[in-house]
């Protein structure tokens, strides 16, 4: 916690900062959003995952479930109307 305070600066942690003040402190923004930026970079580097046969079958099964249920809902609507 003490490290965080030093990193962010006493004024940022103790003073009453407003949005306009923060806008004028790009260094503070960068420090504060460092974790955010690192994570975004990490996620953007992640590509498509390989779908094994079991996983493919499961996802297709769930999709067929929705299509089947759509037909059921249409049947219900036709019966009701």
């Amino acid at each position: 916690m003490a490290t965080n305070q030093l990193e962010l600066g006493e004024s940022a942690l103790l003073g009453n900062l407003r949005l306009t003040d923060v806008c004028e402190r790009p260094d503070l923004i960068e420090q504060t959003l460092k974790e955010h930026r690192n994570t975004q970079g990490r996620i953007q580097a992640v590509g498509r995952r390989t779908l094994g046969p079991w996983l493919k079958a499961t996802i297709w099964g769930l999709r067929v479930y929705v299509l089947f249920m759509t037909v059921v809902v249409i049947i219900n609507i036709v019966h009701t109307v």
Partner: protein, 440 residues
């Protein structure tokens, strides 16, 4: 983003993070919680929307105080299980739900997920406006004025230009959902029956025919729907929650589930007098419920009930339109943050307001089968839920995305249980539709 050119979104998020860091360094637990709560309460109370409150009203009026009171608590527990996962996904990945699905499973599967989301969102949004119009109608407000007024309130919330301000405005509106608690008290409920139902899950509806199954499914759909996953993960990411904030995110979601369950049970209790007095409320809309309840809860109670339906529709319309715009922005890789101005994120705000305006306009079309759409929308939401839960579980167990924050065997077990339960409820519905004479 260059250090010399910070945009407004970054500055707003940095300011929010600085306040969180300050609260944490001063060990101000309540202050910290106050800063971090929002997405969970908003999503849970937002899901107590107009069709949901009408489902609970139908439940109370057709089955009284019994099996469905504890059942609703269980559905909110299941909603908590699903929504807790979105807190972790949002905090760990800082990305929205649609973005992660497209990134990890490709455009083919991503498009399916988006079709499910947009289809259910548009239908649900229409029903929110049905609730707004019906609730306002009770007070003599014409339909077009109700729709216009709702759009104006939504625009005011969206144009606050800060996620934080938007969230607090929406939270204030969402807390009005608890108006159903005083309405329930005005109905002078039999507390012995309430306690008995909570302990014994009885009386159980005799024979699970298609109508009972539709109510069962509607009550599940009143707590677990695809838009909730997209909204909360998007909101957690937009709010800028970090991994350290996950415990507060969980508390936020738990508080939301608790408040929403309270409002839902209050609605069932409030409408139970219609069951006791054998009133046929099967085809009631929002205004008819409020009118029918007047002899039991008085004029003021009826007005509160109508206001509750109006408010439920308004809050959900805000949340659902936002979830659509988040998903659209994530998929098209356009700016999608409530911390940005209209100029910086034109497509985001245009999608937000266009989705709301189109849905609101549909309600004004003469002869549109509104009551039927209201009845079916929660059912359809449940039926599209299994693939959404499937992707949710796959993402939260993805080592490359979640690292050490993947679900353990216990959380995976709970998640699987929710997925299987929702799927089986859907199959039960299918059986009663295909074999109408079937009684389980």
């Amino acid at each position: 983003m260059s250090v010399n050119a910070p945009n407004r979104e970054d500055a707003a998020r940095a300011l929010d993070r600085l306040q969180v860091t300050r609260a944490r360094s001063k060990r101000g637990r309540l202050r910290l919680l106050w800063l971090l709560v929002g997405p969970g309460i908003l999503v849970m109370l937002g899901e107590n929307d107009a069709p949901s409150m009408l489902s609970y009203s139908a439940t109370g009026s057709q089955f009284g105080i019994g099996f469905f009171v504890p059942f609703v608590i269980v559905t909110f527990m299941m909603a908590f299980v699903a929504q807790e996962i979105t807190v972790r996904l949002g905090a760990v990945s800082k990305a929205g739900h649609a973005e992660l699905i497209y990134r990890r499973f490709g455009r083919f599967w991503g498009n399916f997920a988006m079709i499910d989301l947009l289809f259910t969102n548009v239908l649900t949004l229409i029903t929110e406006f049905v609730g707004i119009v019906a609730g306002a109608g009770y007070f003599g407000v014409p339909s077009y004025a109700a729709v216009g007024g709702a759009l104006a309130v939504m625009a005011a919330a969206f144009m606050s230009r800060r996620y934080w301000s938007f969230e607090r405005i929406a939270l204030l509106l969402a807390l009005c959902n608890l108006v159903f608690v005083p309405v329930a008290l005005m109905a002078h409920p039999d507390w012995g029956a309430v306690g008995h139902s909570l302990l014994t899950w009885s009386p159980i509806p005799s024979g699970f025919g298609s109508q009972t199954v539709i109510i069962l499914l509607a009550d599940i759909g009143a707590t677990i729907t695809p838009w909730m996953l997209f909204f909360q993960q998007g909101a957690v990411s937009d709010k800028g929650l970090s991994v350290r904030d996950i415990p507060q995110g969980r508390i936020d979601t738990a508080i939301g589930a608790l408040l929403a369950a309270l409002a839902a049970i209050a609605c069932i209790i409030a409408t139970a007098p219609l069951f006791v007095h054998h009133m046929n409320a099967g085809q009631f809309g929002a205004a008819q419920f409020a009118q029918a309840l007047v002899p039991y809860i008085g004029q003021f109670g009826g007005a509160l009930f109508a206001f509750g339906i109006l408010e439920a529709g308004l809050v959900a319309a805000i949340a659902i339109a936002t979830s659509s715009a988040y998903a659209f922005g994530e998929v098209t890789q356009q700016a999608h943050s409530l911390n940005r101005s209209f100029k910086e994120a034109k497509s985001f705000y245009l999608v937000l307001m266009a989705v709301a305006a189109i849905s609101g306009s549909v309600v004004l079309i003469p002869g549109f089968p509104l009551e039927f759409v209201v009845l079916m929308v929660n059912v359809i939401a449940v039926l599209t839920m299994p693939p959404a839960i499937g992707f949710l579980l796959l993402l939260v167990n993805d080592r490359e995305i979640m690292g050490d924050h993947r679900s353990g065997w216990f959380l995976n077990g709970l998640g699987l249980f929710v997925g299987v339960f929702v799927s089986l409820a859907g199959l039960l519905y299918a059986l009663t539709v295909i074999f109408p004479s079937l009684h389980v």
